[in-house]
Amino acid sequence: MRAIVTVVGKDQVGIIASVCTCLASYQINVLDIRQTVMQGYFTMMMVADVSGSSIPVAELAQKLEEQGKQMNLSIRLQREDIFDAMHRV
């Protein structure tokens, strides 16, 4: 099962490190990362394999959102299926 992690917010030290550390602590493997900084705003998209997650995916999404709030970032995790459904026939 794959999920997309999207991180948006003001660029700062350690964004990638903290998101990856969080994912790693729940046994989640990152498959791909794309990131860009536009006008000081950091946007990152990760494809992660959540099938081995040590906690339920819904809980994981909540944990990431909480962590995002602490860093003043929007971090969300969504299962890939929603994007496939909306954008692929």
Partner: protein, 452 residues
């Protein structure tokens, strides 16, 4: 890997355009809950609903988090209570409504539909008891929704029931007068009611449905509105195509969520209701879509044509995105639940007559409309008869959900709260229809050929 643009587009729709799943509604058959003792029957109803739907809210919330898409309402619909209560030796079904309400509270859902009777051709003893129980049932419960089907294309219109429902609506407004007649916001009178509707207040679980089923209603007026802003001034061919593409995306998401929820609950997936259901929030309005097509205010000349295009394009886009389509499917035009409709009604452009014309080409009918508290029962019945006639002749579902707000007059506002919104009191025509309604009997079913 997925296109970054697509990912951001989806998130933008959810964050800024109010894209959501409007409801996942579990339909539960109560046909095995009959009992001669009304209290026993109520106990069976409570037990069965709670047993079937105990995980509905939990699963819904899990899906919301995993997919990052809000599911605004989790709801339950049940077999029309007039059928379930028919065996009870009683003259009131209020205890059954209370059992439904308690079950809804235990399950954590916000509405439960099915305090209903189907009387398009005539009423049984159970139907009569149900209709008489509606005012008190809606006064004593919080989540229960009632509906009565008074006409159909095959049966015609039961004018005795139409007359009765005018009186029942007035009584319901009177007994819930403390809340501006809120009870009437939970009471719908239908023609050609559908058995698999997931939307309230008109949802019930039809007798042709399985034991238990999960239906989904999608939404997204804000997404359509935003998409149309990018094709300003272009011909209607482009408008229709844009709406279709948007509706396709919205519906695919509904289909996916519905299948996921039904798998987790171990309940068969029923249908997706292809709808544009507005909310009172700014940017989530059907009226504003019509205005975006080039109308100064919703309700002016051209509104019916704009709505016809919108309604048809939503269905065309949605049909291919879903493997089973059903429910009411189309654009809803509830006045109190749509910020643009409220504004149009308040400035006097949107009238009851124009709304009636609009219901000829879109989903359902005169919905969430407040009228002066002194509107007579016969006038309300006549409004129902007009709407039922439109449904009967055009082979479509129509409905009336009207609030004769006690003590209120044109210019006042009725506050319903939450998703029900607030309704400006709209004027009705002040000439009587009493003798028309007093006739009773049945309006015969219309010809299905020689259509002109």
């Amino acid at each position: 890997m997925l296109n970054v643009k697509d990912i951001l587009a989806t998130q933008d729709m959810i964050d800024k355009r109010h894209l959501d799943i409007r409801t996942i509604t579990m339909g539960i058959s109560l046909l095995d809950c009959t009992d001669p003792d009304v209290n026993q029957c109520a106990a069976k109803i409570y037990e069965k609903i709670v047993r079937r739907a105990e995980n509905l809210v939990k699963v819904g919330t899990e899906i919301e988090w995993e997919f990052g898409i809000p599911i605004v309402n989790k709801r339950i619909s049940v077999t029309p209570i007039a059928l379930v209560g028919g065996a009870c030796q009683t003259d009131s079904y209020v205890p059954l409504a209370i059992a439904m309400d308690k079950a809804a509270e235990t399950c954590g859902v916000n509405f439960i539909g099915g305090f209903s009777a189907l009387v398009q051709k005539g009423s049984t003893k159970g139907d009569e008891i149900l209709m008489n129980s509606i005012p008190e049932a809606l006064r004593q419960t919080k989540c229960v929704c009632a509906s009565v089907n008074v006409g159909s294309t095959k049966a015609g219109i039961n004018m005795d029931a139409v007359a009765k429902m005018g009186r029942i609506i007035k009584q319901t407004a009177d007994v819930t007068a403390d809340n501006d007649g809120l009870g009437c916001a939970k009471l719908v009178v239908f023609a050609n009611a559908v058995e698999d509707n997931p939307f309230m207040a008109g949802a019930f679980h039809g007798v042709g449905e399985p034991e238990c089923v999960l239906n989904v209603g999608v939404s997204g007026p804000g997404v359509v509105y935003h998409a149309l802003q990018s094709v300003k001034g272009q011909p209607f061919d482009v408008v229709a195509e844009t709406v279709k593409k948007t509706a396709f995306r919205i519906t695919r998401m509904g289909q996916m969520v519905g299948v996921e929820a039904s798998n987790r609950l171990g309940v068969p997936f029923g249908i997706v209701d292809l709808s544009l259901a507005p909310t009172p929030a700014v940017g989530d309005s059907v009226a504003r879509i019509l205005e975006e097509m080039g109308l100064e205010v919703c309700g002016t000349h051209g509104t019916t044509a704009a709505l016809a295009l919108l309604n048809d394009a939503v269905k065309k886009g949605g049909v291919m995105a879903s493997n089973h389509v059903g429910g009411l499917s189309g654009a809803f035009i509830p006045v109190s639940e749509d910020e643009g409709m409220i504004a149009a009604a308040e400035c006097g452009t949107l009238t009851l007559s124009k709304l009636e014309a609009m219901t000829c080409v879109c989903s359902v009918g005169l919905d969430m409309i407040a009228v002066p508290g002194d509107t007579s029962a016969a006038t309300i019945s006549a409004i129902i008869a007009d709407e039922a006639a439109i449904g009967m002749v055009n082979s479509k579902t129509t409905a009336v959900r009207i609030i004769p707000a006690p003590g209120k007059n044109v210019g006042d506002r009725v506050e319903m709260g939450g998703l029900l919104g607030s309704a400006p009191v709209m004027p009705v025509i002040d000439k009587a229809s009493d003798d028309f309604i007093a006739r009773g009997g049945r309006i015969p079913a219309p010809l299905q050929s020689l259509k002109n």
